[in-house]
């Protein structure tokens, strides 16, 4: 059978089994990392850009599809990887209405107004769904990265949320917003003795038990609908409990250090430089298999400031001629440079079997906003061999309103996750596996 057909079959099948690394039985000495894995694990990464792009320059020409398209000049630094990336046009979320939210619904496709009497509603994001499978055996089920200040209202065009990720209940999941924070979470080992850490977990449980006592007495007083609202509180407690259990499982296992080791980043990193360090941390985390699912809510305001712009990101996003457009193009160029370096690093990092991280990773850079307030044709760049896609092409979907969730579904299935549907998906994008 030709490999292409196999990939296609996997993509089509919602019941495909996943090639998971060998699982040690519980209680046996655990090893963190890919070393124990027979097959290098699948990984998934999403990079959210917030505000939209300089639309007339960012996209390849609509009429030039396939492999022979003119590479957009403002994305020049990415051209050296053109065989390994795919541009897809005409993907969108049909429910998205909010012209200032580039990330809130980007990975979910939810309808903000789906619940009567409620002005905000969201659903699980694709990364969290992927993490339910891919994150079972890593210390961190998923890693959410962000930037200082990008949650400020209006700030970076990401919209409401604490990171790109939304939980199964559609509630925001918080992120690590500085390289220092990310570094410590991923690589710092605590010096406190094991017994003490075990005791601390027990104490944290006791705190949860105490608040639950009050929560239960409140619930007795409530009507049905109020009680549903209070469920969010109960859910929050449950999620912390799940995390504590996972922490407990990993309690005796030291955090694996990458080789060469990463050093603690500077506190003052901001903007473009900070983005580069976040890439290094993600690569290092993948090398030691600390997590297999990553999202990064990229900085915009501090990024353009670090490149010398004298205007805010929101001012920039209204691309009138002159300085605003110049800054926007500069931002696009540097995002391309950032992604190009990310791909370099993925390719140069080898797995135990000699393949590279790139071969097993599925990476997307994009946003829900096209340009200004427009929400159709979401800018989307994909790369990596993880989902079995044929790269090197410019795809223009025949239907201008192809659900972006079709891409998320394709990536899930391509990465071996048995998903029937995702969000408002209507199917997979078969063009991705056709040469």
């Amino acid at each position: 059978m030709k490999p292409k057909l196999t990939r296609r079959a996997i993509l089509r099948s919602s019941s495909a089994t996943i090639a998971l690394p060998f699982l040690e039985s519980f209680g046996f000495r655990r090893f963190a990392g890919a070393a124990a894995a027979a097959v290098p694990p699948k990984r998934m990464i999403w990079l959210g850009m917030g505000f939209g792009v300089t639309a007339d320059k960012w996209f390849p020409k609509l009429e030039e599809t396939g492999a022979d398209y003119t590479f957009p000049s403002i994305l020049k630094p990415l051209e050296r990887h053109r065989r390994d990336i795919t541009f897809i046009q005409h993907l969108m979320h049909r429910h998205s209405q909010d012209g200032h939210s580039g990330s809130t619904f980007w990975l979910t496709g939810a309808n903000r107004y789906a619940m009567p009497g409620q002005s905000f509603h969201n659903t699980i994001s694709v990364d969290q769904l992927a993490a339910e499978t891919l994150g079972q055996d890593t210390r961190f089920t998923s890693i959410q990265l962000g930037a200082r200040g990008n949650s400020n209202s209006g700030g970076d065009g990401h919209g409401p949320g604490l990171s790109l990720a939304w939980s199964r209940q559609g509630k925001p999941v918080s992120g690590l917003n500085t390289p220092v924070e990310a570094f410590h979470r991923l690589f710092s080992d605590e010096s406190t003795p094991l017994a003490e850490r075990q005791a601390r977990l027990a104490q944290q449980r006791s705190v949860l038990d105490t608040v639950m006592t009050d929560a239960s007495s409140v619930r007795r007083k409530l009507s049905q609908s109020d009680s549903e609202k209070l469920d969010e509180y109960f859910q929050s407690v449950r999620e912390i409990e799940v995390r504590l259990s996972k922490e407990e499982q990993w309690l005796g296992v030291e955090k694996k250090q990458p080789n060469p080791p990463v050093t603690e980043p500077s506190e003052s990193l901001l903007g473009y430089e900070e983005m580069g360090v976040m890439v290094d941390l993600m690569i290092a985390a993948m090398q030691v298999d600390a997590s297999r699912v990553f999202t990064y809510r990229m900085p915009v305001d501090t990024m353009i400031a670090s490149l010398g712009a004298g205007i805010s990101a929101h001012t920039m996003s209204h691309y009138s001629h002159g300085e605003r457009r110049d800054v926007s193009e500069m931002r696009d160029l540097h995002n391309a440079k950032f992604l190009a370096r990310f791909i370099d690093r993925l390719k140069e990092s080898t797995e135990a079997d000699g393949s590279s991280l790139y071969d097993h990773t599925s990476l997307t850079m994009g946003t829900n906003l096209f340009s200004v307030h427009t929400l159709k044709n979401c800018p989307t760049l994909i790369t990596g061999g993880g989902a079995g896609f044929e790269h090197g092409r410019h795809l223009v979907m025949p239907n201008e309103k192809t659900p972006l969730c079709n891409l998320w579904l394709s990536q899930l299935r391509g990465s071996g996750i048995a998903a029937e549907t995702f969000g408002d998906s209507t199917g997979v994008i078969e063009e991705l596996v056709e040469a």
């Binding site: 999941v173 609908s225 205007i311």
Partner: protein
Amino acid sequence: MMNLSLFKPALVGACFSRAATGMACLLLASFTTSAATVPDTDVVMPERHFDILDRHCLDCHDSFTAEAGVNLEELSFSIAESIETAERWSKVLDAINSGEMPPKTKPPIDEKAKLEFLRDLSERMVLARSILSDSGGEITLRRLNRREYANTVEAILGLRPDTSLLPDDRASAEYDTEGASLFFSSDQLEQYLATAKSALELALLSKPPGDSEIRRFEPEDTYVPLYAELAREQLDRADRYYGWLAAGGTDDLAKDFGYLDGWQAERQLNSFHVGYPPLQKWLSAPENRTGAALMITIKNGFTKMKLPQLRAWQPGRYVIRVRAAAYEEDPVRFRYLEFARTDGTNTTRLGWRKVTAPLRKPETIEFEIDHAPGLDATYQIQKRSHMDRGDKNLESDYRKVNKTGTPWGIWVDWYEIEGPLPVDKISEIAWLRDSSPPKDGSESQLARELLERFALEAFRGEQPNPEYLDKLTARFEHHRRQGMKWLDALIEPLAIILSSPTFLYLVESGEGDSETLSDLELANRLAYFLWSAPPDPELLDLARAGKLADPVELRRQTDRLLSDERSDRFVRSFVYQWLEMSRLGMFAFAGRDFPTFDNAVRDAAAEEIYQTFAMLLHERLPLQNLLESDFVVVNDLLADYYGIAGVEGHHWRKVAIGPDSPRGGLLGSAAVSAMGSDGQRSSPVERGVWVLRKLLNDPPPPAPPNVPMLSRLEGEILPVRELQRAHQEDAQCAQCHQKIDPIGYGMENLNPAGLWREMEVITGRKQAVLGEFPIDPAGMFGDEQAFEDFFGLRREIAEEIDSFAYGMSEALISYGLGRHFGFTDHDLAEEMISGAAESQYAIADFVHALIQSETFRSR
């Protein structure tokens, strides 16, 4: 302008089937009968539009073919019947609006019929959304939002917690009080625990403030040596340049004079010409030997009066004093001192003070600051700043004219800081902080009592359950066993109380089995509505005595709460959200285009709106003043900006204005003008839509998604009115824009920053004038009322006071009840309006009517 019958929905179902024409006729016949009894403006699509669907849609989108998965055959004409039905209609609207349907290969819809169809459908979609988002009068259990949380913790601990860890609740709903939309994320519980813990540590463990002290600084001590050194460097550059030139001026020789090559030498000479004259002027001014004039240079920024690191200082109140004088010939904008706080990355501007004394007789300006506990920040005094790069751009523009840059405006003799000043407020938490463990071994007993007292306060009068108190006490005992000190061991259980649901949520279970709120619950609802904070002891005592539900007492308490300074929180958060003032901060205004619309004016423009609303509220003035008024509420800074003479002092006050002034009322305020622009040009559409939504309570349907922006991307230099004529050309755009755009054109005499103009000037790079066009403000208001200019438009809008009052009632209901205004609230809004009619719509009477209503007093 508003048709109130819109709010009496009658959900009449109708569907049509192509399968049997006879059947369809039958259905339509029955539909027609019911339609006769229902007003035209119902959420039922008028029957006449069936034709369009039948002729243009059903060929492909019937149940048999259902092309693209769209089947319109079973589509109910009752749009608001369900979310699914509304969504399908919304798809129909988008598809026809965008021209996507019918496809180009099929016959087009007749223009006139299409226009009517689109108008009817888009109007009904607005109504359908309002009906579908109706909560049926239900008020969902509400979590304290971030503001309320901070105020509540402050009321208990006497200090404001740092809430930067918590989500900003303003992002997810129209009002941050809307319970249904206030989510609780998976990490939030831990954030509450951490936030409470650090606030408690500051409140219980920090040392009491030390003695007050005064430290004075002479700015010349810093700036004379600094500027002298910079000037010397500049002179040295020039000396070496001219030496090099005299020696022959070749590239090879440049190294002998400390330059890499000739090119660098030339550049450094240029730097001398730019940098030296301002320094030289400053250094040769005699007053700068005993003080410092406020200069700005491209390279070194502002002359800043930096106050010492307050980190080492105690939290509390401080007074900053500045001995200063003004250069009276300089533009007034530069004669204000700006006081700011900075933590290294973020600068918060705290206020501005005008300096009027002449150089020969300086004055002392005082400015008070409250330094919050745990805050790591420093303070500084400087010139008034502009946004983004404005200061530097203006500096180079000035330099081109006068060689020495931006006028100084102010000279500072000395400045000092005194504090922390004794505050007469007793610490709310002293009873706990001053407690100590008893020696007789009963400390667990005492700890339990203290925790109970704290919980009772934190739970706003609700008794904590004994098992909960046992567990809290066990937490304390555990920490004591671990060797913690008395207060330290209490901190975690106290933080747990401040993270428990009874504290975080406004729990309303009603009196017994009834829907009526208990007195205690009513006290809470009242206090959070008007103070965004918990009830004070007086309110709690009344509630416990069962007296609050008495209408007379309730009225008295409402008045008391409104006259308390804490009602300022209601004014600010309500007005900010109601009028969508977040828009004011969305765009930066370039210094070159709007030299006087700086940070200070932008802040003052927002403040004008709050102050005006507060004045109407407290002085019981007619609401009409927000639409048209013979006075404006300003301070010195905003009066200077508006060009109103004779306003001295930074306090806000009423100033009479003539009928020929555009000020007075929201329409002519700088804030509203600026909110309807993008920092470069005014947007008649944004302005028109804002007026329709906020002043006339006649919200236009939302723009169909994905409409391209009309902007100068086309590269044409056109007046804004011409640029938007495309709105009128296209039938589907015209249906809404013929109502929106003329209002915006009527406001065109106010530039993007709210200053009066006769001409629209379009500039490009480097301020090159690309086009100049006289403004034509005339237009039609509604269908028949013509207006000549801004004043005519303002008059027309002012006539619509009833619609405006209705809109404000809606907003108060949404904000005060914590749920989205729905059609079930129509009667309540009417009650509020009639309740306020006698006082010519005094705002306080709307508030009274809402609070006295059955709805406000039920859960």
